[in-house]
């Protein structure tokens, strides 16, 4: 790591950075208040599934926010970033209005900056390590600035491509086209490899396309990042299920030397309670895929989606928030979160919960579904809820919800969306003889290298973690790319 620290220090000591630091007294910097994200008003934005809630910072706002960054000698924010972006460097470039250089800095570390600027939980990562917190002040809005720089470049029409090594002719495959694989592909193409990304669906992007709704992450933003990768030379094969369409052996015969499995946690969990297979009860994956990937809410598409006056979404994570806010946009009069713990324990990002509340989402916290009841036609009509209270902390450190005996209520619903997490998709592990999987079905890898029990197979993201964030998945992809490069160089 000393090499990195040296490089960081060297860059910090460049004359422009030093001049910029001296251009404004520290007390003036810390006196600036943290910028507020510009948003479309709730009553306006809930009319459309594709209207992005956050509209980004103006140039003026971004430059002012960038001035808040103290350009610390030991930038702890970088430690909080799973892909170790040189955060002060890109922020200081924004301060001196060299937005293109800010974007280029981001791209040295992340293949999807416009995505990360929107969906990363910065409050738990880089911003959680910002020096401002020690002064009991709000951290620098690193996420907003990341988004600003990436958006600036995208809309400028002058998108740069990072430096790419001369092609080495070595073929590698990335399985799945979500953030983890894309991050891997971006790094490998820079190293000169011949990279192909295989995707089972008809659209590239994985969870960025089928999962996260456009009001949080517009498809155009994802497509622009995909275009960059394609321009860098990454090849994409859609409608291709590795292990089924062609086997790993077939691909090896075709010249592939190693693979990165980033196939995600594609199997939705259900609670296994009575009535869960009634019509009108579905997984968040199904609900969101119908709307996000298949555009089922549009009039001119063939895929149907159920509409209901009362939509209950079970769960407290980001996917639950995405589902319940989607239901509101599809016209639900009541869109309700049912969560077995309290607001404090909710795993969803604070911003998502804030937006949900603004949009009129109801929260039934400390309630847990125990049964779905049908109407005469056999469709779901009611959910029976067990009221809970918080007991002692459990293994996750959160207070465990315990049922309050006899406290049961029923509410009328038209649709229930189950968003209580996902399990690893067994399709790929089942095709790899000799691969080690955990009891939960995740692929076992070496933590440092992401290499599996089969030396030519690396893996990361949700297929290894079981369910995590976009940026952690991207961090795995980067780690795997560097380790695979070492492995193939020694071969």
């Amino acid at each position: 790591m000393t090499e990195n620290t040296d490089k960081l220090e060297q860059e910090r000591n460049e004359s422009w950075r030093a001049e910029l630091r001296n251009s404004m007294p520290m007390k003036d910097r810390v006196a600036i208040e943290r910028v507020k994200m510009n948003e479309i008003p709730p009553e306006e934005r809930i009319k459309s599934q594709t209207c992005e809630v956050n509209t980004g910072l103006t140039e003026e706002q971004a430059v002012l926010e960038a001035k808040r960054c103290m350009d610390c000698p030991k930038p702890t924010c970088i430690e909080g970033c799973p892909v170790n972006i040189n955060i002060p460097k890109f922020i200081k470039n924004i301060e001196r209005k060299n937005f293109a250089a800010a974007a280029a800095t981001l791209k040295d570390y992340s293949s999807l900056p416009a995505v990360c600027g929107r969906v990363c939980p910065q409050e738990k990562q880089c911003e959680a390590k910002c020096s401002y917190l020690k002064m009991k002040k709000e951290p620098v809005a690193i996420g907003y600035l990341e988004r600003f720089a990436a958006d600036y470049e995208r809309t400028s029409g002058n998108t740069q491509i990072p430096k790419i090594n001369a092609p080495n002719g070595i073929k590698v495959g990335a399985i799945g086209s979500g953030p983890s694989s894309l991050s891997f592909a971006g790094d490998m193409i820079k190293l000169g490899y011949d990279v192909t990304v295989f995707e089972a669906l008809h659209a590239i992007g994985g969870v960025l396309k089928y999962g996260i709704p456009e009001f949080r992450l517009p498809n155009a933003v994802v497509d622009a990042e995909l275009d960059n990768l394609a321009r860098m030379g990454v090849k994409f094969e859609k409608n291709f299920v590795v292990g089924r369409t062609a086997s790993f052996e077939d691909l090896k015969e075709a010249g592939y030397k190693a693979f990165y499995v980033g196939s995600g946690a594609g199997l939705p969990n259900f609670m296994n309670i009575p009535g869960e297979n009634l019509n009108g009860v579905m997984s968040s994956n199904e609900y969101l895929t119908r709307v996000n990937l298949m555009c089922a809410n549009c009039d001119d598409t063939d895929t149907p989606v159920m509409h209901g006056k009362v939509v209950a979404v079970v769960g407290g994570g980001n996917t639950a928030m995405d589902s319940v806010r989607t239901a509101k946009r599809l016209g639900a009069e009541r869109a309700i979160i049912i969560y077995r713990r309290s607001r404090e324990e909710m795993p969803a990002r604070l911003e998502e919960v804030k937006h949900a509340i603004e949009e009129g989402i109801e929260f039934l916290n400390l309630h847990n579904p125990i049964e779905y009841l049908p109407n005469a036609e056999g469709r779901v009509a009611k959910v029976r809820l067990q009221k809970m209270e918080l007991g002692e902390p459990d293994a996750s450190g959160r207070r465990k919800p315990v049922p309050i005996e006899g406290a049961i209520e029923e509410i009328d619903i038209d649709i229930a969306v189950v968003a209580i997490g996902v399990s690893p998709n067994p399709l790929i592990p089942a095709c790899l003889k000799g691969i080690k999987v955990t009891r939960k079905g995740t692929i076992e890898v070496c933590e440092e290298t992401m290499q599996s029990a089969l030396p030519e197979i690396f893996a990361g993201g949700d297929i290894v973690r079981g369910g995590a964030t976009v940026i952690l998945a991207m961090g795995d992809g980067r780690k795997a790319a560097s380790a695979m490069h070492d492995y193939l160089s020694k071969k």
């Binding site: 089928y210 409608n239 369409t245 869960e276 063939d302 067994p426 399709l427």
Partner: protein, 269 residues
Amino acid sequence: MNKIIEKQQLSETVFKFVVEAPLIAKSRKPGNFVILRIGEKGERIPLTIVDSDLEKGTITLIVQTVGATSAKLCKLNTGDFITDLVGPLGKATHVSKVGTLLAMGGGVGNAPLLPIVKAFKEAGNRVITVLAARNKDLIILEDEMRKYSDELIVMTDDGSSGRKGLVTDGAEEVIKREKIDECIAIGPAIMMKFAAMLTKKYNIPTQCSLNTIMVDGTGMCGACRVTVGGETKFTCVDGPEFDAHKIDFDELLKRLGAYKKEETEAKNH
């Protein structure tokens, strides 16, 4: 994009397509299916692979016009392209030498049944096939089935071909006549329900291949949930074939109509 090499009309509403898909042709096994989509606004629907030609790199699909997507597909002609085609998906049929197999096909269910009948015959089994439909015009793949069956019985509701009666009538006669080691029934859910009830009565192990609603077809969405032996299974990754005596057919029948309201609205557009 997959090119349509050949199109043939099998009945008023049923068409056969031979489609270019060299990788799938190579890797598919009996029982596997594909998911396809017609046009950028199209829906993803599952279809069983009926046959493949390794040399030509093609697969055969048979489709009945029931919804918007199947209607769009049936309007395509030789030389046209299918927008998206992915597979082979689902578990392959477990084919082994069991002795005598009784295969029951209903309507367009004959299409997924054909590769299984062929595989069991090639594995050295005696195969008796009972095909049924409402009338003579709706019986498809009769000649192909005959080729791979030791005996073929045709049943129609109106007696316009073969004998008058249901698939179960023909099957029960065979069961009473000789020892059947295994059954497979593929057709409309209601037909499979009664076929399962029949073979349960005689205690003959039976498989059914389910054609549920699916979106991705790779285990991601769970739209294809079915209760088998009291447990929830995903048809796309755990099936499509299940032990017929353990399938909750009443739930299946309800789930097949989950989007009836939305689909009727779509057709009225």
